[in-house]
């Protein structure tokens, strides 16, 4: 049982390390900003998730104490990663992408960020 737990924890640690490395390598390797957004927001977040799962398994199987802090951290990271990625994409678009190059939104208001927010209907 103990050796099986060690193998499982070590496997999670190695996989998450590789994921984190690939995420940051993609940040260096990919060419423009919109491509660069893909690597860290997905691979690096998955890497941290693997480390947290390994930590939880370590405390559960080796130390025999269940801890839920890792779940909180994982939940927080998985909730905030898309939000910050969307914000970074918006910051890049506003500076470098012309509004006329963007596809139509299909409604009256145009792309968010370029104009002020539309008035709220009463």
């Amino acid at each position: 049982m103990s050796i099986l737990a060690e193998i499982l924890i070590a496997l999670f640690l190695v996989i998450s390390g590789i994921f984190g490395l690939v995420g940051s390598f993609g940040l260096v390797k990919l060419r423009n900003t919109m491509q660069k957004l893909h690597a860290p927001t997905k691979a690096a977040t998955l890497g941290v998730g693997g480390v947290l799962i390994a930590s939880m398994l370590n405390f559960l199987l080796v130390k025999n104490s269940l801890s839920f802090h890792e779940l909180m951290i994982t939940l927080f990271l998985f909730l905030t990663a898309p939000v910050s990625a969307s914000f970074i994409a918006k910051a890049y678009m506003l500076d470098s992408v012309d509004q006329n190059e963007l596809p139509p939104t299909g409604r009256d208001v145009r792309w968010a960020g370029y104009d002020d927010a539309p008035e709220e209907p009463d």
Partner: protein, 89 residues
């Protein structure tokens, strides 16, 4: 076996941090630098959790949770500053 895997994972995340530092120094656009900073925060969380596994104490989870919150807020604030020229309107 866990010790070897811990050393491997720590090496991976340290190398990742160095790559992020490189992008933050050279990244052509401001968004690249913000993205590199965000990734640095995520990798730092991973390093803190790995250190917690190494020491075997659950104290470091509060640290990593705080780092995660501060990192998210700083990323949003920086992007907001780029977007609107102001953080709280």
């Amino acid at each position: 076996m866990i010790t070897v895997a811990l050393i491997f994972a720590t090496g991976c995340f340290t190398l990742a941090l160095l790559m992020n530092l490189y992008v933050m120094a050279t990244g052509p656009h401001t968004a690249d630098r913000i993205l590199a900073l965000d990734t640095m925060v995520i990798n730092a969380i991973a390093l803190v959790v790995l250190y917690g596994i190494w020491k075997g104490t659950p104290i470091y989870f509060e640290v990593s949770l705080l780092i995660a919150m501060v990192g998210f807020v700083s990323t949003v604030a920086y992007c907001r500053f780029i977007l609107r020229g102001n953080i709280i309107e």
